[in-house]
Structure formats: structure tokens, C-alpha cells
Symmetry: C2
Amino acid sequence: MLIREMSREECFRALAGSRLARLACSRENQPYVVPVYLALHEASECLYGFTTFGQKVEWMRANPLVCVETGEVAANNQWVSVIAFGRYEELPERPGNDKERLMAWQVLKTDPMWWEPGDMAWTARASCDPTETLTPVYYRIRIGQMTGREAAQATRIERHVTPPG
Amino acid sequence: MLIREMSREECFRALAGSRLARLACSRENQPYVVPVYLALHEASECLYGFTTFGQKVEWMRANPLVCVETGEVAANNQWVSVIAFGRYEELPERPGNDKERLMAWQVLKTDPMWWEPGDMAWTARASCDPTETLTPVYYRIRIGQMTGREAAQATRIERHVTPPG
């Protein structure tokens, strides 16, 4: 197997090609990771998302430091993984924010199913607890440090790992 | 789409069926998430892993609180996702630890490729910096609170989401 570090440009290409990501946030040093759909806006180096209020929004409001992982695992020895540290920025509905929210909507709507994960949570929560806040939440992750690795299948060398002891 | 909460038993079944997971750790409230291969030992409610020393081990040694996400996404409206909070426990090579390390090895080796992700990192690091520690690290995640959700395809109702404003 050959593993190589990806350039920042290649990392952006991988982020652009994969909407499904894992978003990790943290509260009082307890990490929390959830699957989300994010859409890249490369010019601003931001990932845009849409959800409804819940645990991850509550935690990211309290601590905006996040980490996003995305990639493809075709096989144990054939995969791409990109890990980006970033900062959560919510785009609430208030005067002066229209342009940003419209930008989020424009980036997200390139996927015809973009609203589904957020809407999904909405439906699920509505059926459980109708008093919970159902306001849609638009947000973006401003990407900071980012690393990516790609593994490509090569000639397999057999080896044995012996038990520890 | 129908979404339902999974029982703890169903969550364990999903964990047992999917070796690939996302492991999130945190240092000074900066979360970090990486793809890992983990093997479930259901009787002890632990996930076992194998890696080499690197950023995630360093962070988990400093703060053992972790979160693991695993599941399958067949389509936007057909997926399973399990999220488990847990505690990192390293199984270092020292007197009295042989039984635990052997247990880790026995659980992990049920997958013929179990050693590959750790070995992979090892190969990659060895090629970059031969001075880095190359000691194999066996660890387990003791599972605490766990939630799971399953979405199943249902009759699709068309709807439109209008731009924010």
C-alpha cells in the first residue's frame, strides 16, 4: 500500500466531492461526533450546513472549535481521509445576515436533498417532543488547518502479526 | 422516511457489524476526529483498537473522554448511525497486563486485516520520520451512554424549501 499526504488543494477537492462528513464538537472536554451533510464554498474556505436545534448546535454555540472528517473508504488499503480543524459560525435570522444566509442556501441547494438531514431531525424531534425548538439553523465551518491522506492499493506483501506478550 | 430510536441491544449489533468507525477525542476543548477500525467485545461493553503512537494517542492519554460514531449510509433516507460516549483505556506492555492485551488481540484478530490501519500509520510515519515512536498501542474504549437511530425509506413526499430571508 502507498500512502501519501495530500496538498491543501487536493483536500479541498475531496471536501467538494463528498457531502457526507463527520462533525466533532466538544463541551467541557467531552467530544461528540455526528454525521452531517456539508457543502463546500471553496472561495471562502467554508463548509455550509443546515440543521435544527439540538445537542450539537447547543455545544457549538458554547464552544465553536470543531473538527470535520470526510473521505471515502473503498477498502482497507484504498481510501482517502481529510481532517479539517475549523470554527463554527451560526447564521441566525437577523438584520444584516440575509446575504450570508442566502449564500448558505445557494451553496447547499446544489444538492437536491440538501435539506433532508436537517428536516429529518426536525421530523424526528417533532414526533417526540412538540415543544422543542424547530427553527432551522444555517451555519458554516470556517476551515483552518487541514490534512489529508490517500492510500492506494499496491502489491500486497504478506506478513504476520504475533500475539502481544 | 421513518426514523426510529434503536435499543441498546440494537446499537451493539450495529457496532458489531461495522468495524470502521469515527473516533473523536478532545484537547483543551479542541475536538479531533479520525477514522479507525474497532472491534466490539460485547460482554465487557468495550471496543478494542490497535494503532501506533500519534496525535490521537497523545490527546487520549491527556483526556480519556471520547466519542465513537459508526453506521451505514446507504442513501440520504436509508441509514443507521450509532453514537457512543466512552472512555479511552490504554493497554501498555507491562507486568499484569498480558491478559488484557491478549484479549485485545483475540477480539481484533477476528478481522484478518485488523492490524492494517495501525501498521499503515506505522509505515507512513516510518517513511517520514524514523525517530518517531513506533511502538504498537493496544487500547479499548469502555462504552458508556449510547444512542442509535435508524432511517428506513418510506413513500417520498415532495416538498419545497424556500430561500431564507
